[in-house]
C-alpha cells in the first residue's frame, strides 16, 4: 500500500511546482464510477425487460387446416370464410386484423366462444370438425444471431 502513499506525495509535490501540472494520476475508483456502473446496469436491465414490447412480430396470414388440406388467407383483408369438414360447417370472420369463429354447428361451441385471435401463433380449434385456424407471420423469426 506504499504505492498509494507514493502517489499522494507525488501529487502533493506536483501541486507545488510552478508550472501547471496536467491531470495525470487518477485514483482507482471514485463515486462517479459507481454511478456510472449502476446506471449502466439499470439501463441494460431496462432494455432486457422492455424487449418483448419493442419487438414487433406482426401476424400476416391466417392458415386454416382442415384435416388433410390447408388454406392461407391474408389477415389484413376483411372476409368471411365458410369452412366445411367432417360434417360440420364453420363460419370464420377475418375483421380488422382479428379472427374469430362466428358460428358453427358443433355441439360444444368451444370454437365460437373462443376469444378473437390477433397475434402470431395464436390458434382456434374446432375438434369435432377437425379444423384449426392459426395466425402466422412473415417467416422464421430469429431468436439469436450466431456468427
Amino acid at each position: 500500500m506504499s504505492i498509494i502513499a507514493d502517489m499522494e506525495v507525488i501529487m502533493l509535490e506536483n501541486s507545488f511546482s510552478p508550472t501547471r501540472t496536467p491531470i495525470q494520476f487518477r485514483k482507482r475508483i471514485k463515486p462517479a464510477d459507481i454511478i456510472l456502473i449502476c446506471s449502466l446496469i439499470v439501463f441494460s436491465i431496462t432494455l432486457i425487460l422492455t424487449k418483448p414490447l419493442l419487438q414487433e412480430n406482426p401476424a400476416r396470414f391466417v392458415i386454416t387446416h382442415l384435416e388433410d388440406r390447408s388454406y392461407e388467407y391474408s389477415l389484413h383483408q376483411n372476409q368471411t370464410l365458410l369452412l366445411s369438414n367432417n360434417g360440420y360447417d364453420l363460419s370464420v370472420v377475418i375483421e380488422d386484423g382479428t379472427v374469430f369463429v362466428q358460428s358453427s354447428n358443433c355441439r360444444d361451441q368451444i370454437c365460437v366462444s373462443s376469444k378473437p385471435i390477433s397475434k402470431k401463433g395464436e390458434i382456434i380449434v374446432c375438434a369435432p370438425a377437425k379444423i384449426s385456424i392459426k395466425l402466422s407471420g412473415e417467416g422464421d423469426d430469429y431468436d439469436a444471431v450466431v456468427r
Binding site: 491531470i23 475508483i29 456502473i37 449502466l40 441494460s44 439469436a144 456468427r147
Partner: protein, 159 residues
C-alpha cells in the same frame, strides 16, 4: 508513439484473441485498450488516436476478417470519443475504474451498432444489454490495470 503501438500489439497478442470460448460473438477482453488509454491520457491524445487506429488496422489484417475490421473500427472510434470526453470534459471526476468501464461500454456499444448496421435492427435489442453488462467487468479489469500502470509509465516516459 511507436512504443505505445508496440505495447498495444503485445498486449493484444497475449490474451485477447484466445477468449473465444465463453463470451458473446464479437466480445473481447480489450486489454489493448490499456495501451490506448495510457498513450491517450498520459502522452498526448494525438498519440492515442494514432495508436488506436494503427492497432485496429494491424490486428484486423493479422487476425481478423473484413467483418471484424468494421466491428473493431466502430468500437475503437466510440472508445476514442469516450477518452476525449474523459480528458476534456469529465477530467478528474472519474476514477480509473470508471474510465475503463466507460471505454469498454463505449467500445461495445460501437460494436453493437456495427452489428445492427450489418444484420438489421432486431439484433440490437438482444445484443446491446448483454454487451453493456459484460463491458462492466472487462472495463473494471482494464481500468484497474491502467491505474497500476499509469505511474510507472509516466516515469518511464518523462525521464
Amino acid at each position: 508513439m511507436l512504443t505505445a503501438v508496440a505495447l498495444a500489439l503485445s498486449y493484444i497478442e497475449a490474451i485477447t484473441p484466445l477468449n473465444l470460448i465463453i463470451p458473446l460473438p464479437g466480445f473481447k477482453l480489450g486489454l489493448a485498450n490499456i495501451a490506448v488509454m495510457a498513450a491517450f491520457l498520459i502522452l498526448n491524445p494525438v498519440y492515442g488516436v494514432f495508436a488506436a487506429l494503427a492497432k485496429i488496422a494491424l490486428i484486423s489484417v493479422m487476425f481478423g476478417s473484413p467483418v471484424s475490421f468494421w466491428f473493431s473500427l466502430s468500437g475503437g472510434i466510440f472508445s476514442l470519443v469516450a477518452l476525449f470526453l474523459v480528458r476534456f470534459l469529465i477530467k478528474d471526476r472519474l476514477g480509473c475504474a470508471g474510465i475503463g468501464v466507460l471505454c469498454a461500454s463505449a467500445h461495445n456499444t460501437g460494436q453493437a451498432l456495427a452489428a445492427c448496421a450489418l444484420f438489421g435492427y432486431s439484433v440490437l435489442i438482444t445484443y446491446l444489454p448483454l454487451m453493456l453488462i459484460f463491458s462492466i467487468p472487462t472495463g473494471l479489469i482494464t481500468g484497474t490495470v491502467y491505474h497500476s500502470i499509469q505511474k510507472p509509465f509516466y516515469y518511464s516516459v518523462k525521464l
